[in-house]
């Protein structure tokens, strides 16, 4: 026993692994998220919203009388590190793990949480994530399986485009989206005129834009991360691209609009969650966020905020902190804003952990996201 203690001390000295005990009755929530690297923009939004949600809940007495204690772990947007961070988070024996957002990271680390039986609520959208039969994993927003059919419908019925140029980022997120949307478009008899892969953190989109322009497509569907989206939009404007641009969520993100400036005007998108949604709850949340951090949250902020409130809603429904039954309770559960305003919109979770709720068609007008249509839940 003595030796074990000494070793623990030695390990402490070497690894600096201090597990601050914290308040004994606090609920530990581990937030494993992109705080540096390519995903820093999305991760920071998520983290700040999680902080905000935890603070608001704590101010009102916490969950079932217990305060929330959130610890953040930085995945550096790197799958390997995200796995290490989830392992590290699990060492702290959290009630729930939140994040990450990057699909390539989620794929690597979800196994760890599953093995430990700790529920995980992620911000990832790649289609495959909820197809792996992980019983303790939940999404906060639509997977590509849910959003791409909506986009494809809009392209067919709303814009009436016959051929589409697809520009996507070649990683798990982009490839997943590309594969899904191409399938959906073709199923609707819409031609993919040109199919262009780009790199993560690519900076120069001149070649892609020239190709899209000359492909004869009557619509462009970009599926990239925030910064790349902005660079693409600027290049599109520079080269005078005059066809409609319709994207999914990211493309009308506030950061994209800030970076792209004028070039973002006229861009349309399907957005699962939007800070500009015509809902008093969302407006309130956005105001609180702006008051706390001096900037507007993007949809990732909404996702993080909802994630924390999902934990609250499920726990309160169970009436106790029951990690084993967490997932079982949440599967098939509908959380209404009447019961839990923090989920922002009524939402239902299916047995795979995918949410279903209303979504929006938006357009950027004068540097602002405007909701044009509210789409009903899929109800499948």
């Amino acid at each position: 026993m003595q030796i074990r203690k000494m070793l623990a001390l030695a390990a402490l000295a070497v690894f600096g692994l201090t597990n601050s005990a914290g308040a004994a009755d606090a609920v530990k929530i581990a937030n494993v998220i992109e705080l540096s690297g390519g995903g820093a923009t999305v991760g920071t939004n998520w983290r700040d919203a999680v902080e905000l949600a935890a603070k608001q809940i704590n101010e009102k007495g916490g969950i079932l009388g217990r305060q929330i204690e959130v610890t953040h772990y930085d995945t550096q947007s790197n799958p390997g590190i995200s796995k290490a961070q989830v392992t590290k988070a699990l060492d702290g024996e959290p009630y729930v793990i939140l994040g990450p957002i990057y699909s390539s990271s989620t794929k690597v680390n979800m196994v760890e949480a599953q093995r430990a039986g700790v529920p995980q609520i992620v911000g990832s959208e790649a289609a495959e994530i909820t197809k792996k039969g992980n019983p303790t994993l939940f999404r906060t927003s639509f997977g590509q399986d849910a959003s791409m059919p909506k986009i494809a419908n809009y392209i067919r019925d709303g814009v009436k485009a016959k051929s589409v140029a697809v520009i996507w980022v070649n990683n798990a997120f982009g490839k997943g989206g590309r594969d899904t949307v191409v399938k959906e478009l073709e199923a609707r008899g819409i031609k993919v005129a040109v199919d262009i892969s780009t790199e993560v953190q690519q900076v120069d989109f001149a070649a892609e834009v020239a190709q899209a322009k000359n492909s004869g497509a009557d619509l462009l569907f970009p599926y990239l991360h925030e910064e790349e989206s902005a660079r693409l939009l600027r290049e599109l404007k520079k080269q005078g691209f005059d066809k409609p641009i319709v994207g999914e969520t990211t493309i009308t993100n506030a950061k994209v609009i800030q970076l792209a400036g004028d070039a973002a005007n006229g861009v349309r998108a399907h957005v699962g969650l939007s800070p500009d949604a015509p809902s008093p709850l969302i407006k309130k949340m956005v105001q609180d966020f702006e008051a706390a951090y001096g900037r507007k949250p993007d949809h990732n902020g909404l996702k993080g905020y909802i994630a924390v409130h999902m934990v609250k809603a499920v726990t309160e429904k169970m009436g106790k902190f029951d990690q084993q039954n967490f997932a079982k309770t949440l599967h098939g559960m509908t959380i209404t804003t009447k019961d839990e305003p923090g989920v922002l919109m009524d939402v239902t979770f299916d047995d795979k952990g995918d949410p279903d709720r209303e979504s929006f068609l938006v357009e950027v007008v004068d540097g602002k996201e405007k909701i044009t249509t509210v789409l009903p839940p899929l109800g499948r």
Binding site: A40, T198, E208, A210, R234, Q239
Partner: protein, 292 residues
Amino acid sequence: MAEFVQLLVSGLATGAIYALAAMGFTLLWQTSQTINFAQGEFVMLPAFIMLSAIKLFGLPLYAAFGVSLLVSALLLGFGFKRLLVDPMIRHGVLPLVIATIALGIFLKEGVKLVYGAEALPFPEALPQGIWRFASVSVTVNDIGVLLLVFAMVLALQGFLSRTTTGRAMQAVAQNPDTARILGIDVPRMITYTFLVNAALVSVAALLITPVYLAKFDNGESIGLIAFIAAIVGGFNQIRGALVGGLLIGVIDNLSGAYISAAYREAFPLLLLIAVILFRPQGLLGRAEERRV
């Protein structure tokens, strides 16, 4: 055809900016055997200096550019040479290479610490617009970049071959020992090349950041391309760096559009490897007498 011309022009324009960084890279190598693995970060930093000047003092872009020229000359020119290159060069090439890799990380992380990890918008340096000739359309920005870079190259070439200082710098680049015997103040000439490099990267930053957006890790791609351009063109030739930069810009665009977008990044690398193996002195370079 229209697409081809468009790709060519935009490739040339981006390539011209790469060429600026590549020329600075080449100059440093020639005069002081410095292989600057932080050259990409050297292009990244002036952009943030300009942004700061705009934000703190409310300067217009071109005044901010002037500020960044001064600060870059001080930090990336003088400071870099005195603090890193001078104490290290006696250890040989490799330790300096590693030190510049570390310097790159240092600059990147430093900028991240101060300005955050998110990209920031950067004002356009040149007028925007599109010129159409029949079915071909080219952007005013691209033409402006090309003109500006060519003017700079001509000015630099003129400076190096027409002025006493410039010729002294060239003498140092070709043979420091002979230059010393001729009474040239070699250390001072080396300092000048570091200052010229600082100016080149500042201009590159001014032109490329509107496209790249200001972000701490911009240097990663610019740095790599600058090496490739410098080596492909010829490590001991200013003209080589120019040709190398233009070539890489064009190849990047054309291969992405016509061969394979997924392997787009591979073509400049393949060219690099082929040049190193079959013509190590570069396309325009002179063979250096090595061995023994």
